[in-house]
């Protein structure tokens, strides 16, 4: 169990900056997610915590003790790799037992702990198999078992679900959540999948180009994005972002369409953000705007409508019962309580 502290940590390779002077505290027993697109430095940040990568600057502390100079093998962390990193020449049993063996754990204890870990990930029937005789999901479970077999101070997971197919990913996600609640070990989890971040995390740090953009509980990041990047990255479908300006208390699109009342002084170069579920669709003539249906998509659980007005397109999530045809005219309004305004130049949120 450990509290992980990063103090002004940077990682540079020549002129390339992987992580730029970042500080953060991961609380004991917390499930912490580093979220961002590929190349944003999230994996580098995690590898520095593991000891596989050395920071160029800054300090890393476990429970207040500086671990910068400790090798990965001495930090007592466990890691699950994107490609699992299983030892192909060892059986499942050998893989799970490895961390205990290299630490000289007595044989009897190894046996009972391997059994316990295998039971927790439901792999007891496969202990004699080699990794290549397992499916992707099973390999993932073995990697998890190898991580939980010794009680590490910190769990590190590097996109552990990204190599699984969509269906398996959802079920493994639930198992992971269940397991982490049961084990109560500090976990740092790296992903580019915002759904994983939303569902698993106690707190999320959204990263871009080596810098943490926003850090907080998932709901806070979803409901109160700090800037344009976070707003566009979190949520599925992505938040609708409309370029325009504020004049006389109304948001005017670039095309000149007056859309909705906003409580902001007049200013140019503004981006309006609105989520798909906060766009309300009415019959023709209703709502604030008259728009036409650009595309109608029924996903089964709801209907996604892409609507066009002028040059602008927005996506609305509506009731599954809604039936519309392409090019049909409808009315549109925005939920006034859930509109976000951003400065188009600084990309920062405009708070009112």
């Amino acid at each position: 169990m450990a509290k992980v502290t990063l103090r002004n940590v940077s990682k540079r390779w020549g002129a390339f900056i992987g992580v730029d002077n970042q500080s953060l505290v991961v609380e004991d027993k917390e499930f912490f997610v580093l979220l961002g697109p590929s190349g944003c430095g999230k994996t580098t940040l995690m590898r520095m915590i593991s000891g596989l990568e050395m920071p160029t600057d800054g300090d890393i502390e476990f429970d207040g003790q500086r671990v910068n100079d400790e090798l990965a093998k001495d930090r007592d962390v466990a890691m699950v790799f994107q490609n699992y990193g299983l030892y192909p020449h060892m059986t499942v049993h050998g893989n799970i037992a490895y961390p205990l063996k290299v630490r000289g754990t007595p044989k009897g204890e190894i046996e009972s702990r391997v059994q316990e870990a295998a039971r927790q990930v439901e792999m007891l029937d496969f202990l004699d198999r080699k990794p290549r005789a397992l499916s992707g999901g099973q390999r993932q479970r073995v990697a998890l078992a190898r991580a939980i077999v010794r009680k590490p101070r910190v769990f590190l997971m590097d996109e552990p679900l990204s190599n699984l197919d969509a269906k398996l990913r959802v079920s493994m996600r639930a198992e992971l959540k269940h397991l982490s609640n049961a084990l109560k070990i500090t976990t740092i989890y790296v992903t580019h999948d915002q759904v994983e971040a939303m569902t698993l995390a106690d707190r999320v740090a959204v990263m871009k180009k080596g810098v943490i953009q926003q850090l907080g509980p998932p709901t806070e990041i979803f409901d109160d994005p700090a800037n344009l990047f976070v707003a566009g990255f979190i949520g599925s479908p992505a938040m609708n972002l409309i370029n325009g300006s504020v004049r006389n208390g109304r948001f005017i699109t670039m095309g000149g369409t007056s859309t909705v009342a906003v409580n902001t002084p007049d200013r140019e170069r503004v981006v309006l953000g609105v989520r798909a579920e906060d766009i309300l669709v009415h019959e023709e003539g209703g709502g604030d705007l008259n728009v036409s249906v650009y595309a109608y998509e029924n996903t089964g659980e709801n209907v996604m409508l892409t609507l066009q007005f002028g040059q602008q397109r927005v996506t609305a999530r509506t009731d599954r019962g809604l039936r519309k045809k392409q090019d049909e005219k409808v009315g549109l309004s925005f939920n006034p309580d859930r509109l976000y305004l951003f400065d188009a130049d600084t990309e920062e949120r405009i708070r009112t």
């Binding site: 466990a78 030892y87 490895y98």
Partner: protein, 293 residues
Amino acid sequence: MTDRSFKYMFIAPAFLLVSATVLYPLLYAIWTSFHEWRLSKSRAPTDFVWFENYARAFFDDPAFLQSVGVTFTFIIGSVVSAILVALLIALLLSRQGKIYTVTRTIIVLPFAMSPALQGTSFRFFLNQEFGVFDRLIGFIFPFAAEIDWLGDSTWAMIWLILTDTWHWAPFLSLMLIGGLLSIPRDTIEAASVDGASAWMRFWTVVLPQLLPVLAIACVLKTIFSFKMFEYVYLLTGGGPGTSTATLTYYAYRQGFHAYDMGYASAIAFVLAILLIGVSVVYFRLLFPKEKEV
């Protein structure tokens, strides 16, 4: 023309070429080994003598049996030495980066060098009067200054092995570098995080995954060592005495110095059978039939 004959037509040129250059000499050698053929007396094989040449080798010729021993000493020594040196080079150079690529290219040079040139050079280097190796070693280890490297039977064998290692280690290290680079990085990183020291990672994670490549390198090097002739010929001439005369060299002496072609063919054929036997044992040991799960 049917598909079948068409197929054979395409492989015919290659087949004829291989037949003429490999199959014919091989069969001719077997045929010769069952005949009496003294080149000094006759231009063609004379009497059919059954297994007399083979019987002579195994029951009537201590020099032959000694050269079998020399051959195996050389094989074991040169395979172990070349593989160990190659592994060391490979571990040092199996990294990504320009400097490693350049070093890897440079280090292959010994392999690109003609064995004849290399063998002759090494003989000069080891000369007791003016050899640069002899002088350097004498300078670093004064107690070894008086050793006549190629005049002592043990040292002659050691230098034969070292000369051969110098030639082959770079090539084998390239194979091993390929093998090392193909080991998934995350298995090694996983072992670090799991708490294994560098030494343990090498023995429990790297080496087992390198084993298939290492096995092939061993098999290849064994075959090359079996066939090795040039360094005996150039460096020691089989000497001092017959202490470094391998089977290849002994067969050559019998054929082209004693002009006993029948006997030389028989020795060469024994060599071939030993080689096949050793290869089979190797593959049995290194690639046991995998248990299906």
